[in-house]
Amino acid sequence: MTSELETMNFNNAALMGLSRSEWDLVNKRLGRVPNLCELGIFSAMWSEHCSYKSSKKWLKTLPTDGPQVIEGPGENAGAVDIGGGLAAIFKIESHNHPSFIEPYQGAATGVGGILRDVFTMGARPIALLNALRFGQADHAKTRHLVSGVVSGIGGYGNCIGIPTVGGEVNFHKSYNGNILVNAMAVGLANKDRIFRSAATGPGNPVIYVGAKTGRDGIHGATMASTEFSEETESKRPTVQVGDPFSGKLLMEACLELMAQGSVLSIQDMGAAGLTSSSVEMASKGGLGMEIDLDLVPAREKNMSAYELMLSESQERMLMVLKPSATETARAVFDKWDLDFMPIGQVTKTGRLILLKDGVKACDIPINPLVDDAPEYNRPHVDAPVRAQLASTDIADSRPISQTLKLMLGHVDLASRRWIYEQYDSQVMADTIAGPGGDAALIRVHNSNRGIAICTDCTPRYVEADPKTGGAQAVAEAYRNISAIGATPLAITNNLNFGNPEKPEIMTQLIDSVLGMGDAARKLDTPVVSGNVSLYNETDGQAIQPCPVIGMIGVIEDVEKAIGNGFTSAGHEIFVVGQKDDKNDGWLGASIYQQHFGDSKIYAPPPINLAAEKAHGSFVRQQVLKGNIDSAHDISDGGLVVAVAEMAIKSSFGAEIEVPNLGQLNGWAFGEDQARFLVSAANSSALVAAAKKSGIEITRIGKVSNTRELKFGSTDAISIEELVATYENCIPSLMTKKN
């Protein structure tokens, strides 16, 4: 016990990931040498995860304001006004490393964690999404990881009763040793009843609620070193296990208590558990906090101050209550069978004081923990210049239909049904469009208003040109939201990169943030929350950079929204955002290149943000006017893949006209941006509107009654044949024998 109060040295600090200068700063701020618990708190608060020390400088360049923004980055989640007196509260967060170690629990606790971020703000969660990246499809570990992660996401989301309505998955060898599991949650709250985390009122009680604290997920680096514990074996850091049932009880109890009006501030215990929650609450309120660690409900015996402060056990919250409300609050938590324990109080001192076994285990000034957290301007280089790939450089003499068939069997294009059918996408009965559409659409209960949500990122573009790739992720999300008829409102982002101490990785981070910022500004979708996950590397091999965008939008009347499957034979098919003499396309960094070209990295399709905005707005307006019957953004795989997807989603086929001259592979599979494929019964109104707004639009064919895709007069393929490759790809990957 007493050993815990012993003073530390630089070696201890280094094991916790602190640099020499950071160690010196700790001593200076403290005016003495820290003990184990204090050092643990500093190292956690100054870790990349909590302090954003490598990314902060660049995150500050992102646009965060707008008339719709109620709460930007800084709180547990962002909040935007969606009209009708409501706020949508949302955020995305990564659980990459834990999911690689234990895919089921890692993914499940990722979902649990992001849900807590959302209901901590007083919002009832209405939807979950996930952005996943796995290694090569035929890599030995991939199948195990995919099946564990998917069932973990479903295991938590299905059980707690929040629909999982969308997401994305890619496969690439750079993720073989480091998968990405990003989970996004969206909730709804009354816009003037949003809860924040700043502690208020010295003397007010600090209450611990939820599950008990165990030795889960205590900072791996420190605990792996035997110097800090006598009983290394029993104190080994353990994997966090999710408990969706307790999570559900905690959510209901918190929402019930918040409705009573006795919660002054509240913060979930996420990364760095009790440490970050107590420090952030006190620091935001400009106050101090005193906690008696002996009162913390513990699951295991003899937990030290260090362990109690650093544990990442799930399903826990910290709240400051009105003193008079303590007993009624306790009754609420009793009813839900949850722990409820006043463990301390808010103070005026500006210090974090912790008692353990009756003695002071920690006494540190709070300001330095937050304000003096280091901020680095890490070295970076110029982004590499990439050559352009000409369509003529890829020889492909197959008819379009045959190339298409091969493309639809590509693991990055194939149907995701195997994954999303494991998610309950309809629970709560407000899902208007679940997985499989461009954006998911959730109705606001008892109203006609709908929230559209999607996640997007194309890592191969970001790798080729981070600035373009960062902008493209926002643009694609903008298109997905617009395609169903909703107005994009705001974004959250999850920046997944390798080691920022390498200049070329830092460049990826910086440039993609700059690109993302440009796009968010031009498209009026400010960044209201986000998360950074760095050091995604194994054996020095960095992942393909993956700045995921989660976007939400709103539609006043869900009945006006449309889907991405054709709705009737005879409708004419148009490409919005394409000149009618176009007969080639951009194949650099495309799926087509991956499939049929060499493995060099070429320049990705350029982004024209003005065109994105004009085309997206045009499609949205025409959807709302009823001039468009189905719409799909053109992205991975290009025009012809988009046609096939719209046909597969429907019970119709299509007859497509093909240019007589030019590069057909580029025309068919080029990934030029800012385009939509739409079908329309009333095509003259659509064309007239386009002309009036100066939007390029090209008729490429019509929806047919036969279950067949025809390209020109001679090339045809049955939809059934396409469905077979499209639907079988992932299931057969998952059942393949080793």
Partner: protein, 82 residues
Amino acid sequence: MQVIVNISLKEGVLDPQGRAISHSLNDLGFNEVINVKVGKQILLEIDENDPARLRQRVARMCETLLSNTVIEDYWIEIPDEQ
């Protein structure tokens, strides 16, 4: 030969299922129940008569598939073994 593999959560790993069952038993009036842990029991029928080799093969099965060694411990019982 018959082999039984017992799989349980490692010490310190949260067992939400055990907790919920313990609660329910208490609610049903079984107040003497202090703690519950839930594990798996896998019964294998295996075409192998040498107990030593059998044990070694089953251990391999546990490591590769049957148990999740990050959070679970396993132990192997061979009832017919003397």
